[in-house]
């Protein structure tokens, strides 16, 4: 088929407009929020890997998170649960005394399966909490962290109800909703999160899924990995290794 001059110019201008739009979009997602800043949001995609078989329930992560983020007493951005699974698998005994901020009293029953499960915000890609916010105060950042805009949150607590993992709470003094920020103020400076920093066994590790050198890729390839409540289709980014089916 012959291309007429008119068709040629039409195609060219279409291509030009598309390229310009794409360039603009790339510029928007790639530029850092601060002026003199080496951190580029578009180059990161944060998540966490948790090795359930390494967790000893010491509560170091809970204490560290509390101090780092000034979490009000009685509220938790991360916590540890102890599961004791008897033959009645549907009803395991789950304990988390005060979020495990002071650890656990020792479990003595050797005849039941028991283990610790650290929990935190799963930083879902399709986050129910983000979907329900009526004012756009909670969002998934370009680097994959679910954050709250403290100036725009109304404190309506719709997101607290929407989160399937119970990871949000109403801050009693600020009167806005508060949650795990994956230590956004730390990870954007090249540090790891407070919970990962203080974990003595390496049971939890901050990972960057966009970094090809990150050990997460090997971890996901070599291990049997599960996310919490996969039936909710939230695309959670906290991956648990060897997670027992009794964990909810």
């Amino acid at each position: 088929m012959e291309t007429t001059r008119r068709e040629f110019f039409t195609q060219c201008s279409k291509l030009l407009i598309l390229t310009a739009t794409a360039a603009k979009a790339l510029e928007n997602t790639g530029t850092p929020p601060g002026p003199d800043d080496t951190y580029h949001m578009a180059e990161h995609w944060w998540g966490m890997i948790i090795d359930v078989d390494q967790c000893i329930g010491c509560g170091n992560c809970v204490r560290a998170c509390s101090k780092e983020n000034n979490v009000p007493q009685g509220y938790f951005r991360t916590w540890v649960e102890r599961y004791q699974v008897t033959e009645d698998r549907e009803h395991p005994l789950v304990e988390s005394p005060n979020g495990a901020i002071n650890g656990f009293p020792p479990a003595t029953r050797e005849d039941v399966k028991s283990f610790y499960v650290p929990k935190l915000c799963n930083h879902c890609v399709d986050s129910p909490c983000v979907q329900v916010c009526p004012v756009g105060a909670t969002f998934v950042s370009p680097d994959g962290v679910v954050l709250v805009d403290p100036n725009y949150c109304l404190g309506c607590r719709y997101c607290v109800q929407a989160c399937p993992y119970g990871c949000r709470y109403f801050h009693p003094e600020k009167e806005i909703v508060d949650k795990c920020t994956l230590c956004y103020h730390r990870i954007t400076k090249g540090l790891t999160t407070a919970c990962c920093e203080s974990c003595p066994t390496g049971a939890r590790q901050l990972v960057d899924l966009k970094n090809p050198k990150d050990p997460v890729h090997e971890f996901l390839r070599n291990n049997k990995v599960q996310v919490l409540k996969p039936q909710m289709a939230t695309e959670a980014k906290v991956y648990y290794k060897n997670l027992d089916g009794a964990v909810r």
């Binding site: 928007n28 997602t29 929020p33 601060g34 949001m41 078989d53 390494q54 967790c55 000893i56 329930g57 010491c58 509560g59 170091n60 560290a64 101090k67 780092e68 983020n69 102890r82 599961y83 004791q84 650890g103 656990f104 020792p106 479990a107 003595t108 029953r109 050797e110 039941v112 028991s114 283990f115 610790y116 756009g136 105060a137 909670t138 969002f139 998934v140 950042s141 370009p142 954050l147 709250v148 805009d149 403290p150 100036n151 725009y152 920020t181 956004y184 103020h185 730390r186 954007t188 400076k189 540090l191 790891t192 407070a194 920093e197 203080s198 974990c199 003595p200 066994t201 390496g202």
Partner: protein, 152 residues
């Protein structure tokens, strides 16, 4: 011409009102919507910086080892090689910023060691655990074990 306006007045008047409402709506909208809203998504980009501005409380492993490399070497030789300094010593961000501002206090060994090493059926079996009361009979752990390299 005048006849045109007289005959079409019933159309022009609502059109003017509609236009005025539209202009007011656009003005209010531009005043109310925060700057750059929607640049990355349905939120204010400024919220990203708000979340980044908090001071760090934990200094991080690199900051500790920068000065205390002797302790880091001692630790690297033992079983605690992969335990970060602040896991036991607590948050030292203030100390790292200005070493004279805050002198870290030594952790209380009586509670510190037991938190990880007290016998517990829910802990992974390979993890070293003892019933502290039977193990030492009340003698504090660092009488025998050096915390940085606990092997006897």
């Amino acid at each position: 011409m005048s006849r045109f306006f007289r005959d079409s007045g019933h159309l022009i008047r609502p059109a003017v009102v509609l236009l005025a409402v539209l202009v007011i709506f656009l003005l209010v909208r531009s005043a109310v919507i925060p700057k750059a809203f929607g640049q990355y998504g349905h939120y204010r980009p400024a919220a990203l910086n708000l979340n980044r501005q908090k001071p760090t409380v934990f200094a991080g492993q690199a900051a500790c080892v920068g000065c205390h490399d002797d302790q880091a070497k001692a630790r690297a030789a033992g079983k605690h090689a992969h335990v970060a300094c602040e896991a036991c010593h607590g948050p030292q961000g203030t100390h790292a910023d200005d070493p004279t501002a805050l002198k870290p206090t030594l952790p209380d060994v009586a509670t510190l060691c037991a938190r990880c090493h007290e016998k517990d059926a829910a802990k992974p079996q390979a993890f070293p655990q003892v019933v502290t009361a039977e193990h030492s009979g009340g003698v504090v752990c660092n009488t025998c074990h050096q915390p940085h390299n606990p092997h006897l």
